[in-house]
């Protein structure tokens, strides 16, 4: 179902399901957003970083004398100076530690080696160029499969010989951890007994979120008050405040983190980066605010990458196509430090959702992580902690199995879906899926795209030598981290908070521990409160990102905002409503038990026409209270979700492949999402459009690549491509609604479903177009060059 073309003005009571225009957009449209680089403080200095040209080298010497001669340059710091403040190394989110500035050696190209502080950005850049560093190049490890070879160069000399890792024993100096889940023996037994078995190796290449606004921060230490204010492009300002306090020793009450408007994050703005630490140290040392804003190259080469999973899967099935078991081995390239942004107990994130939408009775997954001479990261790029890799793996593999069985991929999926009656569904790898109706969603997608007709057309085209493919992906996500019994980051439980303060005149301010970067929270939080309290949506202001004012929360990533803070918002509003009910009873001079909430106002049961609005109650909360009731109408609610949520979807892609050039044209793409209750259909559709476009980019355009010496080959937008309107296909969206049974409003989260679900649909479509030629798999990015080579190898003539 398409969203109505006319979007509603954000006025009056506008609750769930209303496609109102986004309240935050007017300020962005007129150029009045307030991004990090818009902030300029009196006496502010600028910082630039010196980067390593080598992927692995010893540092013989660093000479800063020429840099210090440049007019305007105030200071240069290296690891030596940071060591004096015990900040040469800092802990990562994954239980490892990482250098802030290179300490004795560099471990990846573009690693930060020194920081230069100057009066202007230009002088800082000139200073950075004048720092002389003498290196002795060392052998590099680029291929993760060679990282643990005997005789491979040891990358992390700081932990050389220490075989105790943060997530279990290490078997080699370049090995980080091995993590597994499921029953290996039972899975292998089931596979051995299966009538049909497929094996497939596939790579989800290293990619980068590449938000249009790169990372940056301003450290502002006020030496008179001892208070540190940090303006930072952070998706998780509260967690950053706690981490800063733990790392610097500054009491947490003396740290204020302000995350201003953010121009896209996609997971890239979750971790703490060396530039942040250096700018803060610079401000503390120099007693002036210090601004650091990344260049595009710095963003692409040093900040959190995503994916880089090298996966081997084996699936067993009956001859009729009923899956029996799945076994997965994955090698994860984590770069020079394990700085993956995952919940503490899950070093491979939520990769164990890899059984997907299908009823696998037996499954086993093992993931091994290794160090290489590449930038650290492993962030969840528009993804709930490795769910993208897992979904791609299972959805691509189901097509490989269909190919092996000579079965239609839609039919294979329909045969293996978890059925609605099976929910709550315990998966073989330990999750409890909350709800879903996979068959219904796929059938909506099949009908919308006209699947049967497309298969006929494909057969006719094949007979004429033309190449057309249809790719399906029926993914299940796992989002909303998460329940405190399992989910924490550095020990901090992954709940989230909401504060609602209703003013006497019936307007309200709402704050949350999340921090939106374009997701539309200023509208959707207002809609939840409007729905629950019957207040006008245009009289509800939403604030996020200031740790001095907003309630604590773990931030916005992994599609967690609506499942966590959205739940806090609804339950907080209901708590206010409970108090409001007492005031309403007082106003209507009836007993509280006679009052009920109906049609977004308080009414007296059985007495039509007698009612009070929340506006009237709000005024009374400050002017006319029942005796003994505390004045005011506000609350703070921390919501610890009982379970994760499991959005799902059915995506179908149709491609035409040019057999001469290898060019793939996406003719149609139908995306039917089920994210439970929909708060704002227009915002959901916008999220789906954005996510599909990023999924398209991953499938066809993007890879962070390295040469054999560890040179970064994707350091700018001429080498790492972003899709423009010219490349982006037309998206046809729709939805089914299977509410989450445990979420206060039944919502599941949607921001990442399209990025998670779509890459497999694109690749499945291309492989389907070539399947009759014996092609079973092509790794992403599916470039023209790759397809052209596959066609030539298959002996296809150009004309």
């Amino acid at each position: 179902m398409a969203v109505e073309s006319t979007n509603l003005e954000p006025k009056g009571i506008q609750g769930l399901g209303k496609a109102i225009k986004r309240k935050e957009d007017p300020r962005f449209i007129v150029g009045k957003g307030n991004y990090l680089d818009d902030i300029n403080l009196p006496g502010m200095l600028h910082m630039a970083l010196v980067h390593s040209p080598y992927a692995h080298a010893k540092i013989l010497s660093i000479d800063t004398s020429e840099a210090l001669k440049i007019p305007g340059v105030k200071a240069v710091i290296t690891s030596k100076e940071l060591a004096g403040a015990s900040l040469a190394w800092v802990p990562t989110l994954a239980g490892d530690k990482q250098m802030v500035l290179a300490d004795g050696k560099v471990l990846y190209q573009y690693q930060e080696v020194a920081a230069v502080f100057a009066e202007t950005r230009q002088a800082a850049a000139d200073g950075a160029a004048a720092v002389q560093v003498d290196y002795e190049p060392l052998d590099v490890v680029v291929d993760p499969f060679k990282a643990t070879d005997e005789g491979a160069p040891v990358l992390r000399e700081d932990i050389k010989g220490n075989m105790k890792g943060a997530h279990g024993p290490r078997r080699h100096d370049n090995h980080i951890w091995t993590w597994d889940v499921g029953s290996k023996d039972e899975t292998e037994k089931a596979l051995a007994q299966s009538e049909v078995r497929i094996k497939q190796h596939m790579v989800y290449p290293r990619s980068h979120p590449a938000p249009l606004e790169p990372c940056g921060c301003i450290g502002d230490m006020n030496k008179a008050t001892g208070r540190l204010t940090v303006y930072m492009t952070s998706q998780a300002p509260h967690a950053i405040r706690t981490v800063l306090s733990l790392v610097t020793g500054i009491p947490e009450n003396n740290i204020r983190v302000i995350s201003p408007d953010i121009g896209g994050g996609f997971g890239n703005k979750v971790p703490v980066y060396p530039g942040y630490v250096c700018a803060i140290v610079g401000s503390i040392v120099l007693g002036a605010p210090v601004k650091w804003v990344e260049t595009r190259t710095e963003n692409l080469t040093t900040t959190g990458f995503a994916r880089d999973y090298h996966m081997d899967i084996e699936i067993g099935a009956t001859k009729e196509g009923k899956v029996t078991a799945m076994k997965v081995y994955t090698l994860a390239d984590h770069g020079a430090f394990d700085a993956a942004a995952d919940p503490s107990k899950y070093p491979a994130g939520l990769f164990s959702i890899c059984t997907g939408s299908y009823d696998f009775q037996k499954a086993y997954a093992q993931v091994e992580a290794v160090y290489t001479n590449k930038a650290p990261g492993g962030v969840a790029y528009r993804c709930s902690f490795r769910v993208t890799e897992a979904s791609y793996l299972i959805e691509r593999s189901m097509d490989v199995l269909a190919h092996e069985l000579k079965m239609d991929p839609a039919e294979l999926r329909l045969k293996n879906f978890i059925q609605p009656s099976q929910f709550p569904y315990p998966s073989a790898l330990g999750w409890t899926y909350d709800s879903g109706d996979y068959e219904k969603t796929l059938k909506v997608a099949l009908d919308k795209i006209g699947y049967a007709e497309l298969r006929k057309e494909q057969a006719e085209k094949r007979a004429k030598g033309e190449l057309m493919g249809i790719g399906i992906s029926t993914f299940t996500e796992i989002v909303g981290a998460g329940p405190s019994k399992d989910f924490d980051i550095l020990g901090i439980k992954m709940f989230d908070g909401a504060e609602i303060r209703v003013h006497p005149s019936g307007s309200a301010i709402v704050r949350a521990g999340t921090r939106h970067q374009g997701q539309g929270h200023e509208t959707t939080w207002a809609q939840i409160v409007s729905e629950e309290l019957g207040l006008d949506v245009d009289k509800i202001i939403v604030e996020e990102g200031d740790t001095d004012t907003a309630p604590y929360g773990l931030g916005t990533y992994a599609s967690r905002s609506t499942p966590t803070a959205g739940g806090a918002m609804a339950l907080g509003a209901r708590r206010i409503r409970e108090k409001a009910k007492k005031i309403a009873a007082h106003l209507m001079e009836v007993g509280e038990s006679d009052v009920e909430w109906a049609d977004k106002k308080f009414v007296v049961k059985g007495v039509p026409g007698k009612s009070v609005t929340m506006n009237e109650v709000a005024f009374a909360a400050y002017t006319n209270l029942p005796p003994g009731l505390e004045p005011g109408l506000e609350t703070t609610y921390y919501y610890d979700p009982p379970n994760l949520t499991f959005p799902h979807g059915a995506y179908i892609c149709v491609v035409d492949v040019d057999k001469g050039t290898g060019e793939v044209k996406v003719r149609r793409f139908v995306a039917i999402d089920d994210c439970g209750t929909i708060i704002n259909p227009m915002i959901v559709e916008g999220q789906v459009h954005g996510g599909l476009t990023e999924g398209y980019a991953m499938a066809f355009m993007q890879e962070i690549a390295f040469d054999e010496q560890g040179n970064h080959l994707s350091s700018n937008f001429t080498d790492y491509l972003l899709p423009t309107s010219l490349e982006t296909p037309k998206w046809e969206t729709g939805h089914t609604v299977t509410p989450s049974p445990h979420h206060p409003i039944g919502a599941k989260g949607v921001g990442e479903s399209p990025t998670v679900g779509s890459p497999a649909a694109f690749v499945n479509a291309v492989v389907d177009a070539l399947a009759h030629l014996g092609v079973r798999h092509i790794d992403m990015p599916v470039t023209r060059e790759k397809v052209w080579k596959v066609l030539r190898q298959a002996g296809v003539d150009s004309f």
Binding site: V50, Q109, A129, T297, Q709, L713
Partner: protein, 149 residues
């Protein structure tokens, strides 16, 4: 990024003239294109600053150049290490020098360079063409100056 080149150059000068030329750091330096300054350390070592433009990477690179003549092997070795603008270059080149019947000299040369940093990552797609042009210019300059010597 690793670059490997090899080739043959015929110089209109005798082997003695060629040997005399290539063992003189001043003369060798004078053949470098876009030379901005040179600091001769001794008869085998010098530091040269040259203008470089590899795609968007434009500015000065500073190179330590070590000449290693091996007359007994009729071979000349050159090692160059340096860089600038966050990039690094390591180059080892050698040339077998043989006199020809027509009083000319044949230089049978090869070079292996390792380039790191923005010159490789940003300038990578034009680096090969630029390197070839650089080599051609060096030999053209050498040929011209040797034949004049």
């Amino acid at each position: 990024m690793k670059l490997e080149y090899s080739g043959q150059e015929k110089v209109q000068a005798s082997p003695e003239t060629v040997w005399g030329f290539i063992q003189d750091p001043n003369k060798v330096a004078s053949c470098l294109p876009d030379l901005k300054s040179v600091d001769i350390k001794d008869d085998k070592n010098m530091v040269a600053t040259v203008g470089v433009a590899v795609g968007p990477v434009r500015g000065s690179f500073k190179f330590n150049i070590e000449l290693d003549p091996r007359p007994e092997e009729n071979k000349m070795m050159v090692r160059i290490r340096g860089g600038g603008l966050g990039s690094a270059v390591d180059l080892t080149a050698s040339a077998d020098i043989s006199g020809q019947a027509d009083q000319t000299t044949l230089l049978d040369w090869n070079g292996v360079a390792s380039v790191s940093g923005p010159a490789a990552t940003v300038g990578g797609r034009v680096l090969d063409a630029q390197a070839k042009r650089l080599i051609e210019t060096v030999f053209a300059n050498m040929g011209k100056k040797m034949s004049e010597a």
